[in-house]
């Protein structure tokens, strides 16, 4: 069986994130990294192979600007066998509905029995892409999975919901999103980083995927940002640097002053 892992390019955790006041879109000019939740999905694909499943290939799929190639190179270093970058000026500014349509079309061409995604993107904090992709592909879905096992052609998943844990089974082919609790991603070795450059990284356009042009891009987005504004003002908290090791005294003084102890 083959596994496709969707990987989003997001601003790196250390970069200063902002919305561009002109385009009202996320400013993507700074450093970027693979969405950390998607790295857990990729790690799970590798572990499925290591646990003994007959995995033919692991393909990383990304939709993004040309710069997203760097993110796919990282995915190849982490263990993907090949990568596909869907990039096209016509796709820029696509909303969630448009992006799900494109990703489903791209993944649909990879002959993948299992499609894995992170449960949310670290930049947008939306938990929606897996369910939208599954609907386009008409495949069973399990989201926010904390434990995943393959038993023949069936995935057995455990996921946290509002009342505890759900145990869910689905036959392949299926779409699964994973929580960051599912595994601890490995760091790529120097050898793997060097080897990544020799693995296939294919670039495809909207035309290659035979997409309906009326469903993609900023002009066709069904969700449109009207305004961006600062959040409501709030009082600044007290900040204590623990440099001198006297922070415990300061906290106790604060609690005492507030009548909390």
């Amino acid at each position: 069986m083959n596994i496709a892992v969707c990987v989003k390019e997001v601003p790196s955790a250390t970069s200063q994130r902002r919305l561009d006041p002109g385009t009202k879109r996320l400013d993507r000019s700074g450093d970027s990294e693979p969405n950390p939740f998607d790295v857990h999905a990729l790690e799970e694909a590798i572990q499925i192979r290591e646990r003994g499943a007959d995995v033919g290939e692991i393909v990383a799929v990304c939709m993004g600007p040309g710069s997203a190639q760097r993110v796919l190179t990282k995915a190849l270093a982490l263990g993907a066998d090949r990568a596909v970058l869907v990039t096209d000026a016509a796709l820029a500014g696509s909303d969630i509905a448009g992006t799900a349509y494109v990703l489903a079309a791209a993944v649909g061409k990879q002959d993948a029995d299992l499609v894995l995604l992170g449960q949310q993107a670290a930049d947008a904090d939306c938990y929606v892409m897996a369910a939208a992709v599954a609907d386009h592909l008409r495949r069973p879905l399990v989201t926010q999975v904390a434990e995943l096992r393959l038993d023949g052609g069936t995935v057995k998943a455990k996921r946290q919901a509002e009342h505890g844990y759900d145990l869910i089974e689905a036959p392949l082919p299926a779409v699964i999103s994973v929580s960051d609790a599912i595994n601890t991603p490995r760091l790529p070795s120097i050898k793997a980083i060097m080897g990544a450059k020799k693995k296939p990284l294919e670039t495809v356009s909207a035309a290659d995927l035979e997409l309906d042009a009326a469903r993609v891009g900023g002009d066709n987005a069904r969700s449109v940002v009207r305004e961006i504004s600062p959040p409501p003002a709030k009082s600044e908290g007290l900040r204590i640097e623990d440099a001198g090791g006297d922070s415990a005294e300061k906290v106790v003084a604060f609690l005492s002053e507030k009548g909390l102890i």
């Binding site: 009342h163 145990l167 969700s223 009207r226 922070s247 906290v251």
Partner: protein
């Protein structure tokens, strides 16, 4: 149907407070509000009670295939949703999956993490905080119904709700492929123990505490303060402490007088469960952790080193 359609999720015979709160919000916007309930063996009287929460009408999709997973619910909801001006969803794992599946099915715009909803220029406008709540983003919709997914606890449930609304059953057709996934079991939180929602003081443990062997440091401080221990999703999923201690989107919502977060980063999914605490103290090594944005006192330092001393000082003060 024109107007606002509110999907109200339910579990174990109880409506989700997230859906009920959204009904109350929708009812305050001035248009006609219809609630949508999907399940198997739904009682009309129970469904009609949504009238007390703001629904003018309740549509019920009742079919054996509607057993709790999202994909059959998308099938049941899509024909009605396609005619609505907007479809609103409360926070929740299944609720979010239904919203996302519906957005794909209808090719509709979807706004996530919504904390305010308004009507403007003849349509629904959804506002969310973004980028660790450092900016507010207001979105509208075009070309069909807008789909709005709320942030957890963004909209309070109407107090003392009473009254009923007329109930209408809708035809249900569920595809074979939508039924391939099945819910085979559940592990619910064990009964007994402490109800952390009742505690005046909570000391919570996050991944920054390093490992389960350090939970005792948090327990000791909680004991000295006369409080209880709470936790983030990450440490519950890692098995350090039981699920009944979890605070956040898929855990408990708490509002104690004092909340001391130890090694907690302050991710949105935790924040929505504790942001209404009276006083929040955060101890974290990472000075850039989001929790410092909303803590009343932020201590940048190693909780493993600070907690024993803090416990000792508190115990001495109280003793």
């Amino acid at each position: 149907m024109a107007g606002l359609l509110v999907y109200v999720h339910h579990d174990d015979g109880e409506f989700s407070p997230q859906g009920l709160g959204l009904l109350a919000k929708a009812a305050g916007l001035g248009g006609e509000v219809t609630a949508f309930v999907a399940g198997s063996g739904i009682d009309d009287g129970w469904a009609g009670s949504l009238g007390g929460h703001g629904a003018a009408k309740v549509l019920v999709a009742d079919d054996a295939a509607l057993g709790g997973l999202s994909q059959p619910i998308v099938d049941a909801l899509a024909p009605t949703a396609a005619e609505a001006d907007a479809v609103l969803f409360g926070a929740g794992v299944v609720s979010a999956d239904v919203a996302a599946g519906l957005a794909a099915r209808l090719g509709a715009g979807i706004a996530c993490e919504t904390t305010d909803i308004a009507m403007a220029d003849g349509g629904v406008v959804a506002t969310r905080p973004a980028l660790d709540d450092t900016v507010m983003v207001e979105s509208g919709f075009s070309g069909g119904p807008g789909i709005v997914l709320a942030r957890a606890n963004a909209f309070p449930v109407r107090e003392g709700a009473s009254g009923t609304a007329p109930v209408e059953r809708v035809p249900v057709s569920v595809d074979d492929w939508s039924q391939r996934a099945s819910l085979t079991g559940r592990e619910t939180a064990e009964g007994g123990g402490v109800d952390i929602t009742e505690a005046d003081i909570l000391v919570s443990v996050g991944r920054g505490m390093g490992g389960p062997e350090n939970v005792q440091l948090v327990e000791a401080l909680a004991k000295a303060l006369g409080g209880e221990v709470a936790a983030t999703r990450a440490v519950v999923d890692a098995g350090w402490v039981p699920y009944s201690m979890q605070v956040g989107q898929t855990g408990k919502t708490v509002s104690p007088k004092l909340y001391i977060a130890c090694g907690v980063s302050g991710a949105i999914q935790h924040k929505v469960g504790m942001a209404s605490a009276g006083t929040i103290i955060a101890i974290n090594k990472d000075g850039n952790a989001p929790i410092f944005e909303f803590a009343d006192v932020g201590v940048v330092g190693d909780a493993l080193a600070i907690l024993p001393k803090l416990t000792e000082l508190v115990a001495a003060r109280k003793g």
